[in-house]
Amino acid sequence: MNDVLITPDIDYQALTPMIIIGVAAIVGVIVEAFSPRRPRRGIQLVLAFGAIVAAFVVLVSQAGTRVITGSLAIDGPSVFLQGLVLVIAFVAALLMAERKVDPAGDSFAPRASALPGSADERELSARGFMQTEVWPLMLFAVVGMMLFTAANDLLVMFIALEIMSLPLYLLAGMARRRRLLSQEAALKYFILGAFSSAFFIFGAAMLYGFSATISLPGIADALTANPGQTPLIVIGLGLVTVGLLFKIGAVPFHQWVPDVYQGSPSPVTGFMAAAVKVAAFGALMRFLYVAFGGTQWDWQPALWVVAIATMLVGSLLAITQTDIKRMLAYSSIAQAGFLLVGVIAINPEGIAAVMFYLVAYGFATLGAFAVISLVRQGGGEATHLSNWVGLGKRSPILALAMSLFMLSFAGIPLTSGFVGKFAVFEAAILADATPLVIVGVAASIIAAFFYIRVIVLMFFTDPAEDGPVIAIPSAFTTLALAVSVAVTVILGVFPQPVLDLVEQANVFLR
């Protein structure tokens, strides 16, 4: 009987960034329980921003020095993407902290459990209640995302997926305005998300059945030892990929995206759209590259179909949208398609390109949702496109910023979006996937149509009589907007330093 439990050797120092956020999230819950109402918001803000900044500093200071593999892999891509998640979380937190834009307070319902339209809710609103539970929830989601990009075995990946998703389901349902829409969004997101989690875990079971291990490198070794397409491996690969593609919002697993984007409070939408994509693409790439990199010929054709469908469906459906949040939702689907082109390339250039693209996309998305949160009518957001007519005359600076984000999404040169698209296409060309690039360019031209339409609406159409009100934001939103604009412009004009950075960080360790 030698069954001594061997304690795993854990390099806690390498995990410090995640530990910081996780501890802050737990402390946040305790604060919710015990702190009096008045100082609570202050404490939560300090805790959230402090934890994000501290985690980022630690992460950057030990980047490249601490490299581990095992259940978690702290390597180039995971460090880069974790850093990106933290920066995005910081900017999104700025948007969530905004309290001047909505006359009633922040973007969140005073109490999520109050029935929409009930006397209870009216009373809470009238008394100016605001909740602060969103902060620990957000921090939990950030831990999940960071873990997701580093997960090197299927079980950790699944746990990370759930840690990331559960708080987001809640956050999606907490909008102060149009609460029924928000709750519907949360429910849809939850049910479909649970469904996709089931796919993932079934797939993981199949893969375990094939290879008797849940670690990604282990699966790769098993594949080398037993080549050929057994049902277990095909079904397992398919199901896990479906679970991940769901989080990315790729066609045909995209149906939840428009409803959730539209119903969620705008700061949460921005956070979700930007950060979930970062985490999920990190996980998808690690899964495909590490476990299935040797058998790329088996899964590439299927992903080709998904990528092409995602680019085209996203671009074409976006044209028909009349609500700006839904339009951006379809746009994010199309962007996921462009990102998949980089994933399919399965070369180091592809990894680097996807990481760059995620930076460009993330900040343009945050910025766009920041602008959306400022255009208001009757207290709530004016998201119908007809409300945006003539915005350039009412608020030129805001309209200019929005135009910049649209141009970046459209991939117009001198914006970060162009460099991202270019890098992705270049990687695909190196991998002999030229047809994908041709479809990508065609989809970009289609997509440019609806992005530029927003600009035309804002600048070149006369404003309506009863147009929306442009809220004057506090320093929080202003800073978030400024950061988004700066990143979009700088990465468009002088992308080389970041291109160098992603190039250094483009190898997944096994």
Partner: protein
Amino acid sequence: MSNFPWLTTIGLVPLVGAGIVMLLPRTKTLLAKQVALAFSLVALGLTVAMALQFDANSTVPFQFVESTPWIPAFGISYSLGVDGIGLVLVALAATLVPVVILAGWHDVDSELGSVKGYFALVLVLETLMIGVFAATDVFLFYVFFEAMLVPVYFLIGRYGGPQRAYAAVKFLIYSLVGGLFMLAALIGLYVVSARQLGEGTFDFLSLVGLEMDSTTQRLLFLGFFFAFAIKAPLFPFHTWLPDAAKESTPGTAVLLIGVLDKVGTFGMIRYLLPVFPEASQFYAPVVIAMAVIGILYGALVALGQNDMKRLFAYSSMSHFGFIALGIFVFTTVGTSGSVVYMLAHGLSTAAVFLVAGFLMARRGGSSLISDYGGIAKVTPVLAGFLLFAALSSLALPGLGSFVGEFMVLVGTFMTHPWVAVIATLGIVFTAAYVLRFYQRTATGPTPAALTTITDVKGREITSLAPIVLLTIVLGVFPGPVLDVVNPAVERTLEIVGVTDPSPIVPVVEGSQQ
């Protein structure tokens, strides 16, 4: 001073000027104008200094070359340089900007928008125009090409006539659509270069001579051609031009038609012919047909115009037909003629629109020809300039446009005699609408409203004099320009792989010196 960054300096001077103009207080409009004029004159002086050092017999394709890596990961660099064609067009831009500033001294005084903004935009536009003609990196060219839209949009949209917003948006949408196709083709070109050279690049000289299968080449050609044909504009992509010309101030119209539209035809010579030689030959019949239709259609529609700005916009469209024709007949005479015509047309456009602007300023801004008449009696000098501008526009022998038009037709005749015959009809129509325009405005009875107007004075004459002078010099002594242009044209046609047909009538021994 061989390493002096001439082109960057010339490009930066107006940009700095624009910055200074914008920093001036809103009320100091006179100072803003003076500063703008001074900076544009400095840029002109530098251009002249650079042009004097240009070596026409040089064997290198580009002179005054500068190159700095910009985005090395994608083979993009900040590379400038000019050949003879580029030099001529940079000089044209540098000449016309001070002229426009001086001529448009009071054009925007009554505008709601700020006066300094107008002059700053003109200077920014100058920077971009110089950049677009000097870029030897295709990506850089594209950036300048698209960036030009911004100042032009505001110049039309903020300082134009009553329908200016509509005209500006129409211009913008047309150009953006063209630009998108060009961007797609640009990426395609990069793909081809990455496959062939191992590493993708946007360097123009590396892109010349890439091997492409004909399908790829034709598709990419179309992407670029679409953008250039809208910019030039060729029939049937011209409908934005009359609106834009009518609604903009005379100065904006000069820069728009005189310089900006030349980017389209410049792009055809610089990029389409050398990079896609096979596709250029394949599509030549189509382009020639478009050009000839444009020549005749533009002239006929001009005949029916009662608005002088629209008249000359259609007239320009007709002339752009000649320029495109000269490029796509693939003879040195024709292509050189096109370049000369581009220069001459820039000057004659400036003359026409500025004189028309002076005239309109005396009649409350009306551009309707029927509002005028008999001005030769009241304002003989203005009418004289008007006649000169009109004759320059119809390519009277002895003026610059004649040289260009004649060379284009001779070049066309060498390879496509029938096309030349049909195109010559355009000259007849041109004479008809130009002379009829002069007759209706300058001769006959003078309407009561015009009896008290004053003749052109110092500032107006000063702004027109250089144009008149240059038009005559180019007309009687085109040698220096041709010397500069010809080597670049020959190099281009050599890449396309065509040689001039031998003359049909044998050359008599000893008849050529």
